[in-house]
């Protein structure tokens, strides 16, 4: 799974950006400032860094320069820079420093998705409102780690990483196809792409009704063991 690092001193930005990236199927780490980011870069390799431009102590521009100077140690992650300022000067500085994309705050979710999809070559395919159907019973690889059933039990978001070679039919309901006895769901939109021999599907669900949470949990557990 590809890994992303999000750096910002604003917790709400960290949460939104992380959620967008998780929904795209990325593994996400966060850092509250550039110093913490550098410590993480020494420990882990990242495919993507999304960083605020203006942070106290060490700015996003300075972080970028350090990363660029240390490609041997840090690799060559794609870099998206975020800033609340609109000045052309900041944009120019970011691009000169080596940022691949420059986005304004507040983060517009679709713009961030588009930038990341483009940079990481997720080969996005946008699918109609009625979503995606998996035409055979599938075993999820990472879905169980990502699947989040919210406390009120009526909705969840599930980016699903599937095995390669599955036949995907567009036009029905992904979860209804997998667990019809337990779940009724309306898929609002989905993104699918092929990546490293696997299909990645990120779908958003609405009006989810879990008829029997205990049976659902047992079914999930059985599927986890089977896969």
């Amino acid at each position: 799974m590809r890994r992303a690092l999000v750096v910002d001193d604003d917790k709400t930005i960290l949460m939104i950006t992380s959620q967008v990236l998780k929904n795209l199927g990325l593994q996400v780490e966060t850092a509250a400032d550039a110093h913490q980011a550098l410590r993480m870069l020494k420990l882990l390799t990242f495919d993507l860094i999304v960083t605020d431009a203006n942070m106290p102590s060490l700015s996003g521009f300075e972080l970028l320069e350090i990363v660029k100077r240390n490609e041997k140690n840090f690799g060559s992650p794609k870099i998206v820079m975020l800033t609340g300022r609109t000045a052309q000067k900041d944009h120019d500085l970011a691009i000169t420093a080596g940022a691949h994309k420059f986005l304004r705050k507040p983060v517009v979710v679709d713009q961030l998705k588009e930038a990341v999809t483009d940079l990481l070559g997720l080969d996005e395919i946008r699918v109609a409102r009625d979503g995606i159907n998996v035409s055979e019973r599938v075993r999820w690889m990472d879905a169980f780690e990502i699947l989040r059933v919210y406390e009120d039990g009526v909705e969840f978001t599930a980016p699903v990483l599937l095995r390669a070679g599955l036949q995907l039919d567009i036009g029905s309901r992904i979860l209804a196809g997998i667990a019809p006895a337990f779940v009724q769901v309306e898929v609002t939109n989905s993104i699918a792409g092929r990546r490293d021999g696997e299909f990645l599907i990120s779908a958003k669900f609405r009006n989810v009704q879990i008829d029997d949470r205990e049976r659902m949990a047992a079914w999930l557990e059985a599927e986890r063991k089977a896969s």
Partner: protein, 114 residues
């Protein structure tokens, strides 16, 4: 200007449902409750650079969760502090932020999702 931008809340809902909206809302309330006294203190001390910096941070946080009126007030204060406006003007703008924050904090974000 509306207190809340329901389209923004709708965007957050699309990202992670009601639970995510509630979670980020709570973070917004807590960080703002922490920052507002710092803002007032900086104003009293006449540290306009710090005032502008905190106003900028509050603008970002409020904008992220769709607290539109508060975001506008923060933006005005940030500009005024950077321009070196007089203390009374800055105090009034700061009061507007505090009022808009308390009005916003009373709302239930999940009921305002577009």
């Amino acid at each position: 200007m509306a207190l809340l931008n329901s389209a923004r809340l709708g965007e957050l809902y699309e990202l992670g449902g009601h639970a995510f909206v509630r979670e980020i809302w709570q973070v917004f309330l807590e960080t703002t409750a922490h920052d507002l006294p710092l803002l007032q203190k900086s104003l009293i001390l006449g540290d306009l650079s710090q005032v502008a910096q905190i106003a900028h941070r509050l603008k970002s946080a409020s904008g992220n969760v769709g607290a539109e009126r508060m975001q506008g007030c923060c933006y005005t204060l940030e500009l005024a502090a950077n321009a070196g406006n007089d203390e009374l003007t800055l105090m009034n703008l700061c009061s507007e932020i505090v009022i808009s924050y308390h009005e916003t904090a009373r709302l239930e974000p999940t009921k305002n999702v577009a």
